[in-house]
Symmetry: C2
Subunit: 335 residues, 2 copies
């Protein structure tokens, strides 16, 4: 299997006895080529094993057919499912995906965006809720459309695809209250993130208000986004006298549940739990975890679809898309 330094467009043009332009035309499906010469060109391409050089093409056409995806962490189920939705529709439209993990570090986020820009990506999908001023600025300065997926910016200006977090959390909150709980805790990420302060906590308060329960900030908890964080925060939640919790992350929720059960509490009899992301984690435990249902794959897919339109300069009626959510009632709530 020899690694032949591949043929160029010049080689095939030369072989057939036509110009570069003609070869370029058949390669790009331009119909202004006589059928017979098209055949000859195709044959030559076959024989020479010619494969167009996408880099050269990108330089000449100023389109790379590559998009960038910036995300917190591929190993996070929630984001990886969005990524899969993105990737599938990207391929559908013949885009490749340049992937970057940031761990939600603003420094790495800005570096990632700048780097993608220098690689001349045609567009960017951004995931992550840090979105500091600096990140927003560099996004604004990039000469390629950007859409947020499963993420919100404080100002709500960037094109984005999400669910209605306020409404979803409100429903979760009222659900456990209706099940008889009056001390329901909520655990989110840092309140410095818009998605927590401006959406989740707002929804939580709205739920309390609707059920006429007074807000108590000792029932507010902020954690990292992993299993051990759940294990750790659980004790504090219990100490605060809560008998139900709304969690923003499934690993955290499962951590809380396992802590409770390992410490003799019965779920859902003694304590109810609703989580937010409906990943596989919620199905694998016993009991299965009640969760807000998010169309994760679709959020990614719709975001990518929107990006294709933006890259194509199409007019878009609504750039702030909210996809429908559900409440998947399972074993960690009584109803």
């Amino acid at each position: 299997m020899q690694k032949k330094s591949s043929a160029t467009i010049y080689d095939v043009a030369h072989r057939v006895g036509v110009s570069l332009a003609t070869v370029s035309r058949v390669v790009n499906g331009n119909n202004n080529v006589r059928e017979s010469t098209k055949r000859k060109v195709l044959d030559a391409i076959e024989e020479l094993g010619y494969h167009p050089n996408a880099v050269a093409r990108g330089l000449a056409s100023k389109k790379t057919t590559t998009i960038g995806v910036v995300m917190p962490d591929v190993t996070d189920m929630y984001y990886s499912e969005l990524a899969r939705g993105i990737d599938d529709v990207a391929n559908m439209y013949h885009y490749d995906v340049l992937l970057t993990n940031t761990d939600e570090d603003p420094v790495r986020e800005t570096m990632a965006v700048n780097n993608l820009a220098s690689k001349q990506v045609d567009g960017i999908i951004f995931m992550g809720n840090e979105l500091e001023r600096e990140v927003l600025n560099t996004i604004a300065g990039v000469d390629a459309p950007v859409v947020l997926a499963g993420s919100v910016d404080g100002e709500g200006k960037l094109p984005s695809v999400n669910i209605d977090y306020v409404e979803a959390i409100k429903e979760a909150t009222t659900t456990v209250i209706k099940n008889g709980h009056d001390r329901v805790a909520i655990v989110t990420g840092p309140v410095t993130h818009a998605i927590n302060s401006l959406h989740r906590i707002v929804g939580y308060k709205a739920g309390l208000e609707e059920m006429q329960i007074a807000f108590d900030d000792t029932l507010l908890f902020a954690t990292h986004q992993d299993y051990s964080a759940g294990l750790q925060v659980a004790e504090k939640i219990v100490s605060a006298g809560a008998t139900a919790v709304i969690a923003y992350d499934d690993e955290v929720a499962v951590g809380i549940m396992n802590y409770l059960r390992d410490n003799g509490k019965k779920v859902p009899e003694d304590f109810e739990i609703i989580t937010s992301n409906d990943t596989k984690f919620t199905l694998v435990t016993r009991p299965e975890v009640t969760s807000i249902g998010q169309p994760k794959y679709d959020i990614g897919a719709v975001a990518m679809r929107m990006l294709t339109k933006l890259m194509n300069n199409e007019i878009i009626d609504d750039t702030q898309i909210k996809l429908p959510h559900t409440l998947e009632r399972r074993g960690t709530t009584r109803n």
Copy 2:
């Protein structure tokens, strides 16, 4: 925030009154530039907001500082953890990652490899155990180094990073046999994949032989790689009279466990389970699942490190790397 069509190297050269070559030198850290002119160039770059165009650079230098990663599915925990290891060391060496999901479809795998080649990636990390003749051929024909991560080809010729599957499965098998089981089932993927026929099943048989238990092919099962497959195969495993199982995938293992427990069997008292990938799924269930411990992140990281050497034409002593594995004894085995 205006989308200024960015400055080129020509603009900064012109502004400073030097040649393109000089600007190129300072941008690329070539020391053959007088300190004073270097300063001037840097200032101009700053003022003009110049960012090198990586596409143009790629065309001229024939290096894109981009590698391709071909994987079955980002949402699969096992592979996404490898991907994270890959991405981290890729960034360390200033490579970007072009990611493609294949669902282990050979057609998509060959397309992915060809596509990456046309994008002129400097190297490729390939994950997935299908590796049909056709895929192998196109890999061989690509003008860029390729290394397998967490995957084996039948011939064992390609550079790769794995654990010793034979040994790992053998240990798992003898472990449950020592715990008193003489009918232990094994569930793998399709036997048409080398990793199953040439590694896992071989290890299983070696374990049986060591413990002087006769091989019984009614105890061999092949499934898809997901939770519901585990739920489904569990019944058959029980019918076959097995009292222990070695599973190749954590979701499958958890599916088996949940089926058993939902049907009144006690794990590990009545039935023992050992799984293979040690993903988060094994920690989240009750009981936690005993698993072969794989250094997943490291497999990805080491594969990527090896790829950097290959891309750099460095000599590599051993291209068939086997990283150490462990047995993480948890709640689904008695010992």
